[in-house]
Amino acid sequence: MIFFKDNRAVQKFFHHPLVMPGLITLCFLYTCSIFAEFVAPYNYDNGNREISYQPPSKIHFIHNGKFSLQPFVYSYSFKFNSNYERIYIEDKSRPYSLSLFTKGDKVKLWHIIPIQRHLFGINDSSQKCRLYLFGADPVGRDLFSRIIYGSRVSLSVGLIGVFITSILGFLIGGISGYYGGKTDWLLMRFSECFMLVPSFFLMLALRSAFPIDISSTEVYLLIIVILSLIGWAGFARVIRGMVLSIGKRDFVTAAKALGATDLRIIIIHILPQTVSYAIVSITLSIPGYILGESMLSFIGLGIQDPQASWGNLLGVAMNVADIQYHPWILMPGVFILLSVMAFNFIGDGLRDALDPNR
């Protein structure tokens, strides 16, 4: 790869002030998402309707005036006020200490390895007291655990989607720019079709062909396909522009004279020249996929409940009254923001490092 040989670019990239924060955030988020079953203290569908919208557990260090180094939480109980709203109060009689590698829900890591110990949690097998870092959702499930599980969908959609998009974009852009003429004209007019309608409308129309209640795996694949279909056109057009100018250079003529096939020239000789631009563009387009998925799931056309994604978790907040009383349901949005921002940081760093004009 040209990218790694060029030491100056690598140095410039890491010295960019925003790159490190971006990389660290992403490493953290992706690690959590890969080991979701282990990191999340509860399984994604472990809920208790009795504790619907329990507020985030407060973490204490002082019990009955005595300080202990080990943090602990109290269990919560609720009663109804005069408006029949649940008021949660801490039951300060017994502290439940927080510790690492506690036994909790039996889950299978990556659907294969059965594990019972989780990264952290509280030792209470009855689960009467629960550690809800970000509070509970309407059916009393741990929002933190669900965010961790949801990151699997939200963070992978971007990577897979961008992969498909770039293959399509490289191929169509490459062919279009290399052959020029009628092929070029047709392909470009075709690609414009996808940019002709506002993308959200196109997303809805494409989604409409499939029933709402298909399984979550199918929805997941469908979302990726839809987002890639919408996304490739812009990328292909830029690649085409670059190929158009590269195709006139001497080394392409030389390759042609040596009898290389067109496809070989496009893939082996021309496209690698566009890589540095493509890396930047791809990185900066990942947030679009994360947002696209969360938009669809947010309005209920994407990932469906028990399964979690950041979008459908945030969907609960669609009801304004719910945000007012339970503001912690906005937390998934913070995660969307963090991941999008991290990709933007890295994309900017890449652009500054790879752009010879800067």
């Binding site: 959200f200 062909a209 945030l314 304004v320 945000i323 503001p327 949005g333």
Partner: protein, 327 residues
């Protein structure tokens, strides 16, 4: 340039038709249909349903159905919306206006704020003001519109005791007592309802535009003719506003069409969240109820608005930039 514009408009017609055909096909693929609710309604006889089917050719193959839709389209008839029980054209025109108002106001406000901020940041590059704006713009570019909307709704909700914010409505386009208000009351009511959506759309677009205008301005300020102007002793204000700014704005105008597209998409989701009766929320409900003609109409209108946006930006560019006019 004029020929080029006309050519582009003409090409967009078959493109729009292709997209409309794909949409038509996709809605037809989906299980169930819009007439299902009529079939289960005991008040509606089988004959009536058959009549409807015959009238709109639902009993024919998909290609024939699409052909008939095209013929009606040529007569400016977008068909009948079964879910709204009204003419599609009538439904859409009203919604289109609502969306257009939102988009228009937020575009104007965004440009009025973003460009001066961009110029300021470029002229005082690396000053504290520039740095703060850069930091904020990163946040602004990464904040999804629907999340901003939710946060703002929450903020309005919790600041009920504040003097002005408490007057802001959170959803919808008009209040329940709209009809009883006087003329100015009606205008005020509509304006108050627009504050939230326009703010959200402005925030989402602001950061990007500010960064681009800063970048363009910086690039212009580095060019030779600016050095010449300085050497001739022109006052700095004249250099910035008379020379650099005029050139820095041109690329922004081409962005206008693109801006319009993202704005329409963003507005669509926002409309759904805050119950704004616009094109986006119409599209969602049409898709949900498989109201083919309504979906098709909304798609066409969405596409039409985009084409119009691009067209307007092209014309603006011709007006502003003499190089484009001659080239």
């Amino acid at each position: 340039m004029r020929d080029e514009l006309i050519r582009r408009l003409l090409v967009s017609i078959p493109q729009l038709l292709l997209i409309s055909f794909v949409t038509f096909l996709f809605i037809d693929l989906a299980p169930g249909d819009i007439l299902a609710k009529y079939r289960f309604d005991p008040r509606i006889s089988k004959e009536t349903i058959q009549q409807i089917e015959q009238k709109y050719h639902f009993d024919k193959p998909i290609l024939v159905q699409y052909g008939h839709w095209l013929v009606r389209l040529a007569h400016f008839d977008l068909g009948y919306s079964f879910s709204r029980e009204a003419n599609v054209t009538a439904v859409i025109v009203e919604r289109l206006f609502n969306t257009f108002i939102l988009a228009l106001f937020s575009i104007i406000i965004t440009w009025l704020i973003a460009i001066p901020l961009g110029i300021y940041a470029a002229v005082r590059q690396y000053s504290w003001g520039d740095r703060i704006m850069t930091a904020i713009s990163y946040l602004g570019m990464s904040l999804p519109g629907f999340f901003i909307a939710l946060i703002l709704m929450y903020v309005i909700y919790i600041s009920k005791d504040m003097p002005i914010i408490s007057l802001l409505p959170i959803g919808g386009m008009i209040s329940a007592n709209y009809e009883s208000l006087g003329f100015f009351g009606k205008i005020g009511d509509r304006a108050a309802h627009m504050v939230l959506p326009v703010t959200v759309l402005t925030i989402t677009a602001l950061a990007g535009l500010q960064r681009i205008s800063r970048g363009n301005m910086l690039e212009e300020l580095r060019k030779q003719y600016i050095v010449t102007a300085r050497a001739k002793g022109l006052p700095e204000n004249r250099i910035i506003y008379g020379h650099a700014l005029r050139n820095a704005i041109n690329p922004l105008i081409t962005l206008f069409g693109f801006e319009f597209s993202t704005l329409l998409s963003g507005a669509a989701l926002l409309e759904i969240i805050i119950n704004w009766p616009g094109l986006g929320s119409l599209m969602l409900s049409a898709v949900r109820s498989q109201d083919t003609f309504l979906v098709m109409g909304s798609m066409l209108m969405g596409g039409g608005m985009l084409i119009l946006g691009n067209f307007v930006s092209d014309i603006l560019l011709i007006i502003v930039d003499p190089r484009v006019r001659k080239g």
